[in-house]
Point group: C2
Chain length 361, copies 2
């Protein structure tokens, strides 16, 4: 294993689309949402252990989740848990992690990984990342992983690639498109030169800091000025203040869409961003009537099909004559909603907040 | 208030039709099933206080419910709580209560009342009972209250009455019919001489003990032999043994259908036996979309109608796109079932018992 390999796990999201299972105080990445025995961040960490020495793996998260990270990844030293005092999207989070790593190892090559995605084929993932680390180090380019699309999903971002190739697999990126309409998504799929944006990046620390300086100079200034405090007792306090001054901007919008050295590797490793209950339902084990239950031990169904049921362990559930519904209970909240209507969860959360305050959010 | 007036509240049922709200350990009569602030047995007791001195009101219940009765009716002395070691239907329960009362007051006139019914018009109920106590005392007859039927319900028993009249309102009973088919129920309603059997009886203690001697001599023997122990320290132990020897038989089948001095008073006092979730739904307050929620404080519905929702207080429930369902949660059990299918609850309870044992029953 290459000691120059590093990883940054981004774990600051609040997972509001999975309410009521996911709450602000305990978001999706800290939940074993598929009932596999490991939470999503634990799965992410375990995957990255195949790529980097464990002391080279960092988590960036909101400071309110520090204890959750400590508890779920007990192998991680406190110095590897980078905390944000406020949510500022991905660019500041990535800048913080990369500047800190650069101060430790200027030859680092870094994988940036979301903490709440599912990857079924770990070997293919590891192979793709290793090729990407090599290419990124050799060519100083910014690599993003593109997933070969299987359907015209309108919930994902798309990456269009060109024929300009590095290391026979890395294509220069032409455009990024956020969540297209169904019609446009269909033309993307037909054209054959579009991939899903998985939000997983690979680059040398040199290349990304160069990009920050060029495309996000204000953020670069903030973390450049912090150089004397990285890995000292002053880091936390200094960053806490510095973070407040950062613009709220994504790495895609701030750098990837602008830089001229961005390459994508078309990938297949059983990826899902687990962004909706539909995606969880799709991946969950189902009985012959299409009912998915997590955990399944005490759910009894009569004349019911294609439901997705997730309730606290030990709870007995009887369902009769129900079809194509989500039945989710968590934290003293029960939600019964058609599977097709799940995009309405955000509205529900807003309504609940208005009616009952933040108690249930 | 006449000191000869007594009441026996029958409270031994296990209420399996209201599972999971009603459990063997905490059946329907001990629940505030309509969310009124009082449990059904408390409502029953309060009603009877208008008819008898409070020391003349007795409860017969299974011994496992003794503490529930004590807690819910703290005014009741231990000597007024009669316990059955086993379920033996209504005849032994009524025999026990009546023999015990006879040993205290041989001139007693007694109301027998189920503990788990709803009566909306208390004044009409009290007036009916008082007329019945008078008629029963005057004529030594067995009076049963007949409810004027509003629909051809197939869940009730029916009483056919004749033109032979006592005290201008009490009709001699011709036949009793248990749960008829819909077709037969319709002819009953059309004929105009059928009433619903409310299971509420009024008689003098002399008349009922005479009837026991004549129609149920074995049960009569058992409670006759117990005469020396009533209202002594030995009562409980003696009855405990005696009860095991009693036949399992209802008062309707054992006496009312056979005796020739049975009279019915056609009554109207907003009665329901609350025998099904449908009857609860019918009586509950509903919003403009026909949704009934007990308690209603934290139930939010979208595009949903004619549902009946009952969950523990404090629980937040979100329901979307659901119509004509029962959603009930209690004791760590959630049941979601069409309102029309509620007769299936008994089958569900049997299945749950087979799969998970008695833990949830």
């Amino acid at each position: 294993m290459n000691d120059n390999n590093y990883a940054i796990i981004m774990a600051g999201g609040i997972g509001s689309r999975f309410w009521p299972i996911s709450r602000t105080s305990h978001p999706k990445q800290f939940i074993d949402i598929l009932g596999t025995g490991k939470t999503l961040i634990q799965q992410t960490y375990d995957r990255l252990l195949k790529i980097c020495p464990k002391e080279n793996i960092y988590v960036v998260t909101n400071e309110i989740y520090t204890d959750l990270v400590r508890k779920q990844i007990p192998d991680m030293a406190d110095g590897q848990i980078l905390t944000e005092p406020v949510m500022r999207n991905t660019a500041p989070c990535i800048a913080y992690g990369c500047f800190k790593i650069e101060s430790i190892n200027p030859n680092a090559a870094i994988v940036i990984a979301p903490s709440d995605h599912l990857i079924l084929d770990e070997a293919a993932f590891v192979a793709t990342i290793e090729k990407s680390l090599t290419a990124a180090t050799q060519h100083g380019c910014l690599v993003t992983l593109g997933i070969k699309p299987s359907r015209p999903d309108t919930g994902y971002g798309y990456i269009q690639y060109t024929d300009k190739i590095l290391n026979s697999e890395f294509h220069k990126v032409k455009t990024f498109t956020e969540k297209p309409t169904l019609e446009i998504a269909k033309t993307f799929i037909q054209s054959g030169d579009f991939l899903w944006n998985a939000g997983i990046f690979v680059w040398s620390v040199k290349a990304i800091l160069t990009a920050f300086k060029k495309y996000l100079p204000e953020i670069d200034d903030i973390f450049e000025e912090a150089k004397p405090v990285y890995n000292t007792d002053d880091e936390k306090g200094y960053i806490h203040n510095a973070y407040q001054q950062c613009t709220n901007i994504s790495i895609d919008y701030g750098i990837m869409e602008k830089a001229d050295n961005v390459y994508v590797i078309p990938s297949e490793f059983g990826w899902s961003d687990l962004g909706t209950w539909a995606s969880i339902y799709q991946l969950a084990e189902k009985d012959e009537a299409g009912n998915a239950t997590i955990p399944a031990e005490k759910v009894v169904m009569y004349d019911s099909s294609n439901n997705m049921v997730s309730v606290p362990e030990g709870k007995l559930v009887i369902i009769k004559g129900l079809h194509d519904f989500i039945v989710v209970e968590s934290n003293n909240t029960l939600m019964i909603s058609p599977r097709s209507e799940e995009q309405g969860v955000k509205q529900i959360v807003a309504d609940v907040k208005q009616k009952f305050g933040t108690k249930f959010i």
